[in-house]
């Protein structure tokens, strides 16, 4: 049974580490005590992933704050990758994070640890972040470092066990420019070393002896990858109490992928209890140097990939969300509480990944694309 969710584990653990570590943009103020219970659901491309996420954050003494997050992905996959070379599958990934934030004057320190586990992948990440307010508190500088050590396994092959070493270096800067405008800058370098491909995924190549005209062989990636990402963002407070915000990110890596991301958003309070928001996100990337939808022959080159996440593609996302603040009179210890519903509609269009299930001559099948729905429904309480 093929499972093609390893990127999900890595992505989630990165996100989880950022979640529990205090936001470096909140130097000199520890995050508020709060609890969140979230249900998440992703449906798209034959894949459904849903589950809960729980987050609790509490101050300890005057200058410390601890937080814990428990997150579950329940995956049911019949994606085009799976249908092409394997059978649909279901599995569960569980992740836990712990973090401690400490405040010392205008400096905030954060340490966190995240563990993610599924039946064929275990990931661990330890992070340290520091942020400092400068220049009359108009500027916040943040630095961060993460170290990850993972273990890749393969179901059905007890002997298979490969390590991955991950490191991340972060630099951030936020700047109050005017009483209504804040600008931000972020830079992150990530290096990976170890077994970076998916032990189940295959590439296809032309094979005249096969009735379909093509055959499959295991993919082969380089065992190192270094990426750099730079992001610029702005938040503008509008005169009638609303916020417009935008972000641009440029990404490049040693595998030959270049990507651009643009996000625009708008947040609008309505009365005392409602906050409405909407947004648009555009993403575009070029393919990895060793990616091909169809290789000319078996072992055509040293490195081989047919992972559509490494292909040339673009995506669009429209987002809407609503927050409603409500009171629970019998729970006087709650300062405030909200219920939140967010929906995102995504569209992915691939320029060099073909839908071979649709048939056609090898290399002339229709290009693949799909829509996805993302739901985030959660309750938050401050205490």
């Amino acid at each position: 049974m093929a499972r093609l969710v390893i990127p999900f584990a890595l992505a989630a653990i990165a996100a989880g580490a950022a979640l529990t570590a205090g936001s470096p943009t909140q130097a000199a103020v520890l995050p508020d005590d709060r609890a969140d219970v979230l249900y998440h659901r992703y449906e798209g491309g034959g894949v459904t992933v849903d589950g809960p996420s729980l987050l609790v954050r509490k101050k300890v003494a005057e200058n410390y704050s601890v937080s814990a997050n428990y997150y579950v992905d329940m995956v049911s996959s019949a994606s085009i990758d799976v249908l092409t070379t394997a059978s649909p599958y279901e599995e569960t990934r569980r992740q836990g994070s712990l973090a401690l934030d400490a405040l010392n004057g205008k400096t905030q320190y954060s340490v966190s640890f995240t563990n993610s586990d599924e039946n064929d992948y275990t990931a661990n990440t330890a992070s340290f972040d520091l942020s400092q307010e400068l220049f009359g508190d108009l500027t916040t500088l943040s630095l961060g470092f993460s170290r990850g050590w993972d273990e890749v396994r393969k179901r059905g092959d007890e002997e298979f066990e490969e390590p991955v070493d991950r490191r991340s270096y972060r630099l951030g800067l936020s700047q109050i420019v005017t009483p209504t405008l804040m600008l931000g800058f972020a830079f992150e370098t990530i290096t990976d070393e170890g077994f970076l491909n998916n032990p189940y995924r295959s590439v296809r190549y032309l094979d005249a002896e096969n009735p379909a005209g093509f055959a499959f062989q295991p993919e082969a990636y380089p065992n190192t990858r270094t990426s750099n990402a730079v992001a610029l963002n702005a938040r503008y407070f509008l005169p009638y109490r609303a916020v417009a915000h935008g972000e641009y990110r440029w990404f490049t890596d040693t595998w030959g992928i270049d990507a651009h991301t643009v996000r625009l958003g708008y947040t609008h309070p309505l009365g005392e209890r409602w906050v409405l928001e909407g947004g648009y996100r555009w993403y575009d990337q070029s393919s990895a140097d060793f990616y091909a939808d169809l290789f000319p022959r078996r072992d055509a080159q040293n490195f081989l990939a047919r992972d559509k996440e490494l292909s040339t593609f673009s995506s669009h996302m429209l987002s809407v969300g609503a927050t409603y603040e409500f009171g629970v009179s019998r729970w006087s210890f709650l300062k405030r509480s909200t219920v939140n519903v967010f929906y995102d509609r995504m569209r992915f269009d691939y320029d060099d990944f073909r839908d071979i299930l649709s048939g056609g001559a090898p290399g002339a099948e229709p290009l693949y694309g799909f829509d996805a729905n993302v739901y985030r429904i959660f309750v938050s309480a401050w205490f």
Partner: protein, 74 residues
């Protein structure tokens, strides 16, 4: 090495009197940044999940979240 240089620059900046820079946005002009809707990440649990969705579906990674805010309102 890169991180060490950054820490050195920051230490020097702090030691040589960055705190003496006159803030051009006065503390009493920063009430907009204390408004919850101006927070860079109002709902960390929801943002974290969405970043996870992006990271899982896209080749790019990094420099998401954890930036662009800053309160400066205390």
């Amino acid at each position: 090495m890169f991180l060490r240089r950054i820490v050195l620059v920051v230490s020097l900046a702090a030691a040589t009197g960055c705190s003496g820079v006159e803030p051009w946005v006065k503390p009493y002009e920063r009430q907009n940044f204390a408004d919850p809707i101006m927070a860079a990440d109002r709902n960390p649990i929801a943002t974290s999940y969405l970043n996870h969705v992006f990271d899982a579906r896209e080749g790019a990674r990094g420099a998401l979240g954890g930036h662009g805010g800053g309160c400066g309102c205390n």
